[in-house]
């Protein structure tokens, strides 16, 4: 059983869950993810890693509530347990010295980008973090990112902080200013990552996106998570989750992600009342 040690909702709709999983925590590497199941009827839900502590034997994952399964997780409290946790899955992101590495994060990516930013910094890179959020009150983790980044740049869709627009607009600004960028790593919703890829395409800056298709088994056994990259079919769970943003068939990813939205409507409407009504996280 995997006990929740701590659970917070730092900004609306985003939850940070710290889970006791000593064996997995000892092996986590930047860029990887885990799969959780709340109980035996749950879906297998993939979640990127925000951080881990091998001493304490815990790992932390961001959960964005966008449907039935994430809602089930969002309604848990510290002390509750996940029935299953599998990991670490996915290929670790290759860490090397490149020069200037831009780590762009949006939504759950604001948490998930941290391990990569940290590792890139340790490898001697100059790290610039670009944080995208719909509004200024949706930023979280800035302090932690500030600890490992040389520079933090903000993009808000409503213009309430710094640059009005998306992370891709900040990237465009940087390229227009002819700032050297050797590598871009983007973690967030596919829309955000697709736009980041488009922003860097002409300048041919290597850009890696953390793809998040529907996953079922997570070990390459079923092919549910297949994506098309450079015209080839790849499995996000074992070949990814990071792929070359310039080569991803984004249109296909969006449509495949939407496969069960209609079915989910039926389930979400019948979700049980919260276990702890009116509780605050």
């Amino acid at each position: 059983m995997f006990r929740i040690v701590e659970k917070t909702e730092p900004v609306p709709n985003t939850h940070l869950v710290t889970i006791e999983a000593p064996k997995v925590a000892a092996k986590c590497q930047p860029g990887q993810f885990v799969i959780v199941m709340v109980d035996d009827r749950s879906e297998r839900v993939p979640l990127s890693l925000a951080d881990w502590d091998s001493q304490a034997g815990t790992l932390t994952v961001p959960v964005f509530e966008v449907g039935r399964s994430s809602r089930k997780i969002a309604m848990l409290q510290a002390g509750d347990e996940f029935a299953h946790l599998i990991g670490p899955l996915g290929r670790p992101f290759p860490i090397a010295k490149h020069g200037t590495v831009v780590c762009a994060g949006g939504c759950y990516g604001l948490a998930a980008i941290y391990p990569i930013a940290r590792a890139m910094k340790e490898a001697g890179n100059r790290v610039v973090c670009v944080l995208e959020a719909r509004s200024h009150y949706l930023y979280y983790q800035q302090d932690r990112l500030a600890e490992v980044a040389d520079e933090l740049l903000y993009a808000t869709i409503d213009g309430s902080r710094d640059r009005k627009g998306h992370a891709c607009d900040v990237l465009s600004d940087m390229l227009t200013q002819q700032r050297p960028i050797h590598l871009v790593v983007a973690v967030g919703c596919p829309f955000m990552m697709m736009l980041c890829g488009e922003a860097t395409k002409t300048a041919a800056v290597p850009t890696w996106a953390c793809l998040n298709p529907i996953i079922v088994d997570g070990t390459g056994m079923c092919g549910a998570c297949r994506v098309t990259v450079a015209g080839q079919t790849r499995f996000a769970c074992v070949d990814g989750p990071f792929f070359d943003a310039h080569q991803v068939d984004w249109d296909e990813l969006f449509h495949r992600q939407a496969a069960y939205l209609g079915d989910e409507v039926q389930a979400v409407g019948q979700t049980d009342a919260p276990l702890h009504p009116h509780h605050h996280h």
Binding site: G218, T233, A258
Partner: protein, 461 residues
């Protein structure tokens, strides 16, 4: 054998053959001649003493019959259901020369079910602890068999399973209506009661590698990770919404119980028209699952009926359930709408030409014979390749060009000392019973290997 009629069973996931009653079983058992030199035993990949257990059924000693089978086969309730007995023991039965062979498989099933339902499952006695530790990777048929044999010999066995439930294909691949999961769970429970440790949610190759397990003190490793890598045709449209590998389709339905959505969270895969591409047992399973989910189903297979590798019984069941067959047809592309959802599959007619390497006549396309079937679901059941995770993360493990682990036929020993392998990861996609056969060979060899090592610190004097 009483069976659920087709028009009833397409609405449920209950088992199709309802099994013998005690009287029916005894009647069938009495047909057996109890040959002095039984031919059937040679056909059994695990060498069950067939006349031995049948005699006990004749004498109405069902519990003893169960124990007799379990001397060689730890999973009789499963084998009785999924073995292709018609190609193995029953094929060699003397009575089969002129008439019907003894229904050995059904008798095995009866005995195993009887024992389980009566609740009198007796634990076999294990040998004294040897102090040796064995890691079994994969809780599928091969892994469970190795574990079952080794624990009886006194070794400490830990099974590491990547999924959240044990069973491997028994759990995720074979549908409820062919192999109830309750039975798989009962069989696994028997092993844990014997002392086997089962660790689920553990992906060897990601969480820990085989080498790390050896470093941690396991004296031997058995790799039974199976052929869990789906094959696709690489035709246009294969990534449209509604195209599944059989693995995904069956995993959703069997392991994640999508047929009970929304009680179970994994979304339903109910659609109205499905095509299943392939002719093996997996294709039949996928087609019959789709049928039960309410779809009109067509199986598309590039060769003819005779070449279909699926068990005849399962093909017949599929036909009875109203599943159509488009034989001598091969898909060329899958068509989608503007939301990238499947709307049709285009196929080409085939004719049989010269035999290929497998000895079967090669299908040859007929130019200009394209036709389209309107569907909203396509399931690719073309077979599976070995899952590369463990081979790729284990140093010194020789792997063939097909991705299978190379293992000695007599001992199932791999190129890495102390590491053995069996089942689909060695043979390529095959059957449950063949995996068990290899597992038995491996268990024997592992036991002998462990005896060559210097005694473990926990060994009894």
């Amino acid at each position: 054998m009483p069976e659920q009629p087709a028009e009833v069973r397409i609405d449920n996931f209950d088992e199709v053959p309802s099994g013998y009653t005690a009287d029916l079983a005894v009647t069938e058992a009495l047909r057996c001649l109890l040959c002095k030199n039984p031919r059937c035993v040679a056909g059994c990949p695990v060498n069950i003493d067939i006349p031995g257990f049948i005699k006990l059924i004749q004498d109405r000693k069902f519990d003893e019959a169960a124990r007799k089978i379990k001397e060689e086969n730890a999973l009789p309730a499963i084998c009785g259901r999924v073995c292709p007995q018609e190609d193995q023991c029953e094929k060699l039965c003397v009575l089969g020369v002129k008439g019907e062979p003894v229904a050995i498989g059904r008798l095995e099933r009866f005995v195993a079910d009887y024992e389980r339902v009566q609740g009198q499952v007796q634990l076999a006695e294990c040998a004294p602890p040897t102090g040796r530790k064995v890691a079994v990777i994969g809780a599928g048929p091969a892994g469970l068999t190795v574990a079952g044999d080794l624990v009886l010999l006194g070794h400490k066995v830990t099974i590491f399973e990547a999924l959240h439930k044990p069973g491997g294909v028994l759990m995720y691949g074979i549908p409820e209506f062919r192999l109830p999961k309750e039975i798989v769970e009962a069989e696994v429970q028997y092993l844990t009661r014997l002392g086997v440790e089962l660790v689920t949610d553990f992906v060897v190759g990601k969480l820990e590698s085989v080498d790390e397990l050896l470093e941690q003190g396991f004296d031997a490793i058995f790799i039974g990770t199976g052929a869990g890598l789906p094959m696709f045709m690489n035709i246009p449209g294969e990534n449209l919404v509604g195209v599944y590998s059989a693995n995904e389709y069956l995993t959703r339905s069997n392991l994640m119980k999508a047929y009970l959505f929304p009680e179970y969270d994994t979304p339903t895969i109910r659609r109205s028209k499905a095509v299943v591409v392939g002719g093996g047992n997996v294709a039949m399973d996928a087609a019959r699952t789709a049928r039960r989910l309410g779809a009109q189903v067509t199986i598309v297979y590039r060769r003819s009926r005779n070449e279909m590798p699926a068990r005849v019984e399962e093909v017949e069941h599929a036909e009875q359930e109203g599943i159509d067959f488009e034989l001598l047809a091969n898909p060329t592309r899958i068509l989608g709408d503007d939301q990238r959802r499947v709307v049709g599959i285009e196929c080409l007619r085939m004719e049989l030409g010269e035999p290929d390497d497998s000895g079967r006549r090669r299908p040859v396309p007929i130019d200009g014979s394209e036709f389209v079937i309107d569907v909203d679901t396509v399931v690719m059941a073309l077979g599976n390749k070995p899952n590369p995770l463990v081979p790729q993360t284990t140093a010194g493990l020789e792997v063939s060009r097909w991705g299978t682990i190379v293992a000695d036929e007599q001992t199932m020993q791999t190129s890495k000392p102390g590491v053995f392998a069996g089942g689909d990861i060695v043979s390529g996609a095959a059957t449950v019973i063949l995996a068990m056969g290899q597992a038995k060979i491996a268990a024997k060899a592992i036991h002998e290997y462990l005896n060559t090592l210097t005694p473990g610190k926990d060994a009894q004097e």
